[in-house]
């Protein structure tokens, strides 16, 4: 097997270590310097490949993404459409995402932001709060990440529902789906979590109209993609007091520009896209497993549906 490693930002060394250890005999070539004859490349292992690049490898058997999100790659008009594309699903990344979500749900559930303000004011005052079962958490996007976060939150006693394009069955998690399910899902949700990927159908899904269906004083946690949110509509809902607070990890432009109003908004808690990240040590094993499958004539496990966009 000959692979081309295409990642303009990341260091190839840890990937080379883990992939060559996991797949003996692997010929690991870093694009652009080591590629050699493009016709020899069997598999492209990619993160943010430049548009038009992938079509230059005439004998590709598969494209494997080092990232969970593939939206930027799918915008390549020259992307070969007949080659299977595998998306990274890494349990360590899933776990990281779940921890990020659980942290923020607990943060709002237990009024950590109020206590921080009280400490600055030197004020000693307990704030009553409901039992977890009386907090209704709603997760937008119920793929591998959403399902894992939903189970973890349900395990802590929260009342959890999920919304996705198609119905999902998870023990103890109420399922809403499709356009008709969105409004009732929002109406029952105190803490809204978006794990939506960026696709044409999720673009701007969280906007003035959808936010207005949330009950008064709701919280919003976005760890999916920035494109799902209409920023000005979210800020308006926070400013009016209709919504209590928002935790944002993803943005339309990253790094978030220094003059973006989110930075200094008193009701926005901001993190620099850290909910989940690719670690070569764990992700490399997942990519290696797909390389072995392709070498044996099979397909990657988590196939991207080009029409669905993820």
């Amino acid at each position: 097997m000959i692979i081309a490693f295409i990642n303009q930002k990341g260091d190839p060394a840890p990937w080379r270590d883990v992939l060559t250890e996991e797949v003996p005999g692997l010929d690991f070539r870093v694009w652009p310097d080591e590629v050699g004859d493009p016709a020899e490349i069997d598999i492209a292992v990619v993160a943010l490949p430049p548009p038009g690049l992938l079509k230059t490898f005439p004998n590709l058997k598969a494209i494997l993404s080092m990232w969970a999100g593939v939206e930027s790659m799918l915008r390549d008009p020259d992307l070969p459409r007949d080659i299977p594309i595998g998306r990274l699903v890494d349990r360590a990344m899933t776990r990281d995402m779940t921890h990020h979500v659980v942290h923020w749900v607990l943060h709002y559930h237990r009024d950590a932001h109020h206590y921080a303000e009280q400490q600055r004011a030197g004020k000693w005052q307990s704030i009553p709060y409901p039992e977890a079962t009386d907090r209704r958490v709603g997760i937008l996007g119920m793929g591998a990440l959403g399902g894992d976060a939903a189970r973890a939150l349900a395990n802590l006693g929260f009342t959890v529902a999920g919304w996705s394009a198609n119905p999902k069955s998870i023990d103890g998690v109420e399922s809403f789906h499709g356009t008709n399910g969105l409004t009732p899902f929002l109406e029952r949700t105190n803490i809204l979590v978006s794990l939506l990927p960026s696709t044409p159908t999720t673009e701007g899904l969280i906007n003035r109209t959808t936010l207005a269906h949330l009950p008064a004083g709701a919280y919003f946690i976005n760890a999916g993609r920035g494109g799902a949110v209409v920023d000005d509509d979210l800020i308006a809902a926070l400013d009016s007091g209709a919504m209590a607070r928002a935790s944002l990890d993803v943005f339309r432009t990253e790094p978030l520009p220094a003059d973006d109003p989110f930075w200094r908004h008193p009701k926005v808690d901001l993190t620099p896209h850290v909910a989940s990240h690719t670690t070569p040590r764990t992700a490399g094993r997942e990519v290696a497993e797909d390389i072995r499958r392709v070498a044996a004539g099979g397909s990657p496990r988590n196939l991207v549906d080009l029409d669905r966009g993820y």
Partner: protein, 313 residues
């Protein structure tokens, strides 16, 4: 059947609220409030007390059980005149355990994932990512593995952390490494990056988190204390945080509560103060627990859980 209510901290424990809640479960309960409503001392079979005065409890000859709010246990245990053989029943409810575990998970995740640094960065509009150890590599250590410690350990293990516990005697919890006794203490600290204190206060544990203990932790460790304020030597903790040996601390309990306005903890940039709010007894759940135990005692069964007089908790 008379119960004496000693709501010394009336702002927290309103007798009218407790009377109504307990009568919901025990309609015949004769609910008396100390000190004016005691009546004939011989009538009193149960007490529900918060930090009773020394010697007070021996004045009730027909006492069948002493129910106590958490903070009262230490005083009762130090009182040489507490009638022998009368069980001291602790307030434990699933609800209270859940609330404590929420607090613990929040702070472990907070430090594990560098949120304390991101919060500081946000104020400067600074975008920088940190990559610490993975969850499986992150070593959490729990001092005190009773009901609260055991639940926290199980939930932390379920989230994927590397969890150890230290207690007087070894404890068996699936997936948790158990350290015990004096010999186990330093090895437990040496492997612990996030130290969580859920000990009960006894003479043996007072000041257990001191300069020597903190120095035994690896550099950059975190402390989370929702147990009892008397466990921590405040000045030693401040020195350890100032030196950077301890990266940050979340404290919910203090030697003196409310924490005095002049205390250095309030304004320390790497110490978080919450007002003894990690867990509390929702009165409706606690009343159910008390009523359940009163019925058990009247049926001739032992109450649960009772304080072990020898161990002091």
């Amino acid at each position: 059947m008379a119960l004496l209510f000693g709501g010394y901290l009336a702002d927290i424990h309103d007798p009218d609220v407790w009377r109504a809640l307990l009568r919901r479960h025990l309609p015949d309960l004769d609910f008396r409030v100390w000190p004016d409503g005691v009546g004939d001392h011989r009538d009193i079979e149960f007490t529900l007390v918060h930090d009773p005065a020394m010697g007070e409890l021996k004045r009730y000859p027909n006492l069948k059980a002493i129910f106590t709010f958490g903070a009262g246990i230490e005083r009762i245990m130090k009182d040489p005149e507490v009638p022998a053989g009368v069980p001291v029943v602790r307030l434990v409810s699933v609800d209270m355990v859940n609330r404590m575990t929420e607090y613990v998970l929040y702070w472990v995740l907070h430090y594990h994932r560098d949120f304390h640094r991101y919060f500081a960065q946000e104020r400067q509009a600074h975008w920088e990512k940190y990559r610490g150890p993975t969850t499986a590599e992150r070593r959490v250590g729990i001092l005190g593995v009773g009901e609260l410690g055991a639940d926290a350990a199980q939930k932390l293990i379920a989230l994927g952390f590397d969890v150890a516990g230290w207690s007087r005697r070894p404890k068996s919890i699936e997936g948790m490494e158990s350290f015990a006794g004096d010999d186990g203490f330093l090895p437990f600290l040496a492997r612990t990056e996030i130290l969580l204190c859920l000990l009960a206060t006894t003479p043996a544990t007072e000041g257990i988190i001191n300069a020597r203990t903190l120095a035994a932790l690896p550099k950059g460790a975190f402390l989370i204390n929702p147990g009892r304020g008397a466990h921590v030597v405040d000045d030693d903790l401040i020195a350890a945080v100032d030196s950077g040996h301890v990266a940050a601390a979340a404290l919910d309990v203090f030697y003196q509560e409310p924490l005095p306005a002049t205390h250095a903890f309030w304004r320390h940039p790497r110490i978080t103060v919450t007002p003894h709010a990690a867990a509390w007894h929702a009165p409706e759940h606690a009343a159910e627990h008390i009523a359940h135990n009163i019925r058990r005692i009247l049926d001739g069964k032992p109450p649960h859980p009772v304080v072990d007089h020898a161990a002091g908790y």
